[in-house]
């Protein structure tokens, strides 16, 4: 059986509060805080991007996996903010963690579910026995246009998972994917910022696909929501995952450990994978974890994980996700935020 051998997370230490963004646009901060259920979001530093964060998270995953990186047969990075339009993020990552040259490498893109896509493919590859380990990363420095509702949540973070078939800290019991052509959110070539369909991103997009995937995953597994210790869903804001969890029959208590968005924003491809890292940080052997990602366009990948006894041995080999969130933080004003996110464009 395939599963997770090691995992790692990375979240930049910079933050900007909802109030600071709202002040810039003369908007009502309280309504955004309540409406989105978000307090603050992470911001990448000037020298950070999807690749650097993928490297940080992958090194932590390697610490927990305790394997030789040369045994990694595939390096997959899922993101919608790959620094290059042409040239993979994965090559730099593979080189940085010393996994080259005998390694397959590809970048994935499917809005916010690129990370879970990479996980899905990595799992299947090790399951077939064509390689011993496969590394899957979800990482983003996501974009929100100045003044757009997305600006309050679009943040940065990465989660890395090394998949294998032995020495697992969690086994993958079931997977399921659900996909339709639903244009709720997109960014065209050469555009700085994505466009979205407003409320259309809710019912016919996020909720339809996560419930579609989640219900089928429950049916396929024969399990009930009460059988799970934890559940994690894609987190575009704080409210949606709680609501979609309720729709599927999961309680707030099952969701809270993996619900990071209110404190770090929407890390896009890193969103539900980062939530999973926070859950693995706290889970006990035997716990079942329900996970459904969501990517606009639109689709969801579902996973059922079962935590093994090995989690106790490797958990503290790398920083815990909630410790990173609660650790050192530097708050930015909108000016510095604009500079860090390269929103200031010189016109000469």
């Amino acid at each position: 059986m395939a599963g997770i051998v090691g995992y790692g997370s990375y979240i930049p230490k910079y933050r900007i509060r909802v109030e600071e963004i709202a002040k810039q646009w003369g908007a009502d901060a309280e309504s955004y805080r309540k409406g989105l259920m978000v307090e603050e979001k992470s911001v990448p530093a000037l020298d950070q991007d999807t690749i650097t964060m993928a490297v940080e998270a992958s090194l932590r995953a390697l610490s927990r996996a305790g394997i030789n990186p040369l045994e990694i047969g595939a390096v997959y990075v899922g993101s919608e903010s790959h620094p290059y339009a042409v040239k993979p993020s994965g090559t730099t990552l593979a080189e940085a963690i010393a996994a080259t040259p005998e390694v397959h490498c590809a970048d994935f893109e499917f809005a916010c579910k690129a990370g879970s896509e990479a996980m899905f493919v990595a799992l299947q590859l090790v399951q077939t026995g064509s390689m011993k380990y496969a590394l899957a990363v979800g990482a983003d420095t996501s974009q929100g246009a100045p003044g757009d509702a997305l600006e309050y949540t679009a943040s940065a973070g990465a989660a890395a998972f090394i998949m294998g078939t032995e020495n697992l800290l969690a086994t993958c019991e079931h997977t399921y994917s659900f996909m339709t052509d639903t244009p709720d959110f997109w960014r065209r070539e050469h555009q700085f910022y994505p466009q979205h369909g407003g409320r259309f991103t809710g019912e016919p997009a996020y909720f339809k696909h996560i419930t579609g995937c989640g219900e089928a995953l429950l049916q396929k597994s024969g399990l009930k929501p009460q059988d799970f210790a934890y559940a994690v869903f894609h987190q575009p804001n704080g409210k949606f995952p709680i609501r979609v969890g309720r729709m599927l029959g999961f309680s707030k208590e099952q969701i809270s450990q993996g619900l990071l968005c209110p404190r770090i924003g929407n890390t896009y491809s890193g969103s539900s994978p980062l939530g999973l890292t926070a859950i693995l940080d706290a889970a006990k052997p035997g716990d079942l974890v329900f996970m459904v990602s969501y990517g606009s366009g639109a689709g969801s990948d579902g996973f059922i994980w079962k935590v093994t006894e090995r989690i106790e041995q490797v958990r503290n080999a790398a920083p815990l996700t909630w410790d990173i969130i609660n650790g050192e933080k530097n708050y930015l004003d909108y000016g510095l935020y604009s500079k860090y996110r390269r929103k200031i464009i010189k016109n000469n």
């Binding site: 009502d28 309504s31 409406g35 369909g197 407003g198 409320r199 259309f200 019912e203 016919p204």
Partner: protein
């Protein structure tokens, strides 16, 4: 007028954010519901109220398109437009057609498909009902216009923020009893007054929503109705239609809607009744403050007393003048071109005694008031069960 005109069938499509349905789908749904309700096997002419399908969906030439999809070509069909009063205008056109003896059975529909565009485009589409050169060009939107009207009303008559909020509280309470309402959730005055600011003093819960929806009614002469209808006959007893400057700044008194005053006077005169005789009314509460203006301009309460009356429950179900028992535009939804027709659907439902928990007891005479823009056009219809 040569013939009495009655409503023998009513129908609504589903209302809401109908992303998987098109304009033609929802129109046909409402039209078929009305045809089935009337029990007729043909229609002779059709009028469709629609404000701006050209902007919302890129589709013009609506009347023929909808006649085709309803399967009624080659009957004469026309789309009529008077901004948010397009539906009310379609009712008037259908009335005239039957009254003049041009057609025996007429379908009057209204439809608007508003959610195929984003909020900014929808705001732009709606702003085309204001004066482009002298209002919109300078940045004003409808919430802004009604906010200014609210400010003047508050200043002149002492109308309070809470009194304005009570309109939303009442209409959402009414809407909670209407299975067709888009937003049937009840709200408190405090929730309204603390909701997101849109244009001071109006907040999001003071505003009607963006809605996809259609409504339809079947009109025929009283003589025909007596032969074919098995339901209580609802006669259109009077109507009034008036215009005013569409630019707010051209009006001498910002606390008055002269087109509504005039339309109401003409409708009362034609029907031979007074405002006190109206048992139930559906009025154009595109914003909460609009309902306060309208109940004054229809003569339900003295000028300046609309806020107090709303707070006192006079317009609530069970009050002296029940207003917007359907939930109104505020709770039921506001697919602009459909609204004027949907108001007639509600009044007919009330006068038939079919309104369930929101039924106004012993309702015999009902009124609809449909308005374009910030009051540049207004249509009033008075209906009576016979």
């Amino acid at each position: 007028m040569s013939r009495d005109v009655v409503v023998i069938g009513v129908g609504l499509s589903q209302w809401g954010e109908l992303w998987d349905l098109s304009l033609r789908d929802i129109f046909v749904d409402a039209a078929l519901a009305a045809i089935q309700d009337a029990g007729v096997d043909r229609i002779d002419a059709m009028y469709v109220g629609n404000m701006t399908a050209g902007i919302f969906t890129g589709q013009e030439h609506l009347a023929s398109l909808l006649a085709d999809y309803l399967g009624v070509t080659p009957i004469p069909a026309a789309r009529v437009e008077s901004a948010c009063a397009s539906g009310g205008l379609a009712v008037k056109m259908g009335f005239m057609d039957v009254a003049l003896g041009l057609s025996e059975i007429v379908l009057v529909g209204g439809v608007e498909k508003m959610t195929d565009v984003g909020t900014e485009e929808a705001t732009y589409a709606l702003s085309t009902a204001a004066d482009q050169d002298y209002e919109v060009y300078h940045g004003i939107t409808f919430p802004g216009l009604y906010a200014m009207m609210a400010r003047v009303h508050m200043e002149k008559f002492g109308t309070t923020r809470k009194q304005i909020a009570e309109v939303a509280v009442k209409n959402h309470y009414h809407g909670s009893m209407n299975p067709a309402a888009q937003y049937p959730q009840q709200v408190t005055a405090e929730q309204v007054m603390k909701s997101v600011m849109i244009a001071d003093p109006l907040r999001i819960l003071d505003c009607s929503p963006i809605t996809d929806g259609a409504a339809a009614i079947i009109l025929c002469s009283l003589d025909v109705a007596k032969k074919i209808s098995k339901k209580p006959l609802i006669k259109i007893k009077g109507f009034g239609h008036a215009t005013d400057s569409i630019a707010l700044h051209s009006r001498t008194d910002l606390t008055l809607l002269p087109a509504t005053v005039k339309a109401a006077q003409n409708a009362y005169k034609m029907a031979g009744i007074s405002p006190a005789q109206i048992d139930v009314a559906e009025v154009h509460d595109c914003f909460t403050i609009a309902e306060i203006f309208i109940i004054e301009d229809l003569g339900f309460v003295p000028k300046g007393q609309g806020g107090k009356a709303s707070e006192a429950g006079i317009t609530r179900l069970g009050g002296k003048h029940p207003v917007n028992v359907s939930g109104g535009l505020k709770s039921k939804g506001h697919p602009v071109g459909a609204t004027g027709v949907a108001q007639v659907v509600e009044i007919v439902t009330q006068l038939r005694g079919d309104a369930g928990p929101r039924q106004v007891k012993k309702a015999r005479i009902g009124l609809t008031q449909n308005m374009g823009g910030s009051g540049g056009s207004s249509l009033v219809h008075i209906l009576e069960v016979i």
